[in-house]
Amino acid sequence: MLIDARSLADKAVIEADLCIVGSGPAGMTIAKRLAESGIRIAVLESGGRDVEPEINRLTEGELTGLQIEALETTRVRALGGTSTVWNGQCRMLDVNDFEHRPWIPHSGWPFPRKELESHYAIAHRILRLQPVEYDLSKWATRTGQRFLEPSHDIFFNRVSLTRPVHFWTDYGADLEKAEDVGIYTHATVLGIRLAADGQSVDRLDVGTLDGKRLTARARRYVLACGGIENARLLLLSDDVHPNGVGNGNDLVGRFFMEHPRFVSGVLVLSGKGLPQKGLYGDYYIGDGFAIRGDLGIRAEVQEREGIGNVLGRLDPANEDEFGPGAMAARHMLKQLRQGRVPDDLMANLWTVISEADDVVATAYRRLIRDRDRPITTYEVESYIEQVPNPDSRVTLAEERDAFGQPRVHVDWRLSEIDKRTSYRAIELFAQAVGANDIGRIRVVVKPEDIFPPTTGWGHHHMGTTRMNDDPKSGVVDRNAKVHGIANLFVAGSSVFPTSGCATPTLTLVALAARLSEHLDKQFKEAST
């Protein structure tokens, strides 16, 4: 049943067995998995069917440190959550992403990847990613395409699977029909109210923008409102524990991670080149399903080099695009698109003017690109694992939102190991392509310039309620239960202890499937 919370009476009480905050991929997965289990479920969604500017402004916040995209443009308060705007690209985290890596502080999940394999299988089905094939050579055989085959053991080919499932469009109708599921739109959770002993959740305070105040009561609660909002909600709820719920060890909001990305090099192939519509781009297999090949650096090389995980993304390019003029023009355009005044403006302008032939040639070739011409030059974009950093964090800001609640403040910070990963990664890719006679790489970043103001991001917000069995090292335990709170769970990428270099949705859906099994078991045990 779909209910607009604005239609309820003021001070109405929503009652359920399980209350899920948020209807994005994590929340919807749990609701879908438990819809037929006999558990009464209430899903509280701050937005409606479509994005409503007034509601989405609740996601605005302050940014300091390295910039990420404005929070209101990268997060969505609407049915389906961020799945309304994503591109659908998915890949599992690597086996070593789950392991404790001694050279990476705070690394290690409470369980190995194999414990998540069956849930990854469920997640692939939910995300309609079929066939599940991560071996690029198999896709090469199937499609008749060539790929860069390593003969030395520095790099390997990664595969991402893409189908942009919209969780509300694809699954909403079934949930609307489900007898035991109530989906409340325009219901913004304003706070988590604990029982007097501070060890369990008593209720949630809910508000609508037209001024109603509601209460949601359940036996168990799941926060599934995103990598930033999950932390904000815990921090906002400070009436019993002054530091917020689950924050006895000052961990909520810390370890905020993104996926820094930037162009780090140019790959020039030695052979005849690869087709433009090749495997190192979105290669459409059919029915909206695509695959994409990228480069990875082997786990043993990461260990030897003392770096984090990394992905090298190849984008077809023209040789002219990497002349000083074209690079300066791109640098300025990127900053302008980010709403900033380009740094070194006069120097860059002069470079563009003095290298005008390159700039014009680049623009011209982009316009008239011959679609049949093989690609011999690729831009290499490094997309790196940000290692856990307690100083990279989400806190509450002074400014208030339309409900009078403190907005969020995000201070994204990277560390020395991230810089080392970024620079060594392109050098290692250069070694790999040379050792394999694939071609040569020109590095276009300098160690001192790593993470320039134009550093990009993946719109992936992770780590702010990290998972660890020790309450001194994590906000939630291996079952995603908040330490010290008996009936409060967290779903989504905020529980990731490390981020790997994979897009997070597949893993967070797998974790949500795992959590739904745990909750189902708990409810069944409680009823016997």
Partner: protein
């Protein structure tokens, strides 16, 4: 800075080396130069390697370094094709071992940088 066009068109070490001159060279120096590629592009890259200071600026030292590294090659080997094959294997092995240099941003195997520098310091083939 190495011209991209030189780097791309010069065929330096990219598996499409310039066509070898017909017949074996008569002197070891000529054989090495023929194997490396006696072209303006090769010399340009070699000059960049020298300018960046990543290799020795002495033709004899460079040749000795290369010959020492190619232990399986006969000292008087005069077949450019044999030398080229040996240099290719050395180049791949350098890359795999991380024996690389940075020349204007291009990551090159140390041995290939030496080879280009040797060419840059040598008089053109007759």
């Amino acid at each position: 800075m190495i011209s991209r066009r030189y780097f791309l068109g010069g065929a330096v070490g990219l598996g499409s080396l310039a066509v070898l001159p017909a017949g074996a060279a008569t002197r070891p120096r000529d054989a090495w130069l023929a194997a490396i590629g006696d072209s303006p592009a090769v010399r340009s890259v070699g000059a960049a390697c020298l300018r960046c200071g990543v290799v020795e600026a002495d033709r004899q030292v460079l040749l000795r370094s290369l010959m020492t590294a190619l232990a399986t090659l006969a000292p008087q080997e005069a077949d450019p094709a044999a030398i080229r094959a040996a240099l290719g294997a050395l180049r791949r092995s350098d890359f795999a071992a991380g024996e690389v240099v940075n020349v204007d941003g291009w990551i090159l195997a140390r041995s290939e940088a030496r080879a280009y520098a040797f060419a840059a310091l040598s008089a053109p083939l007759a």
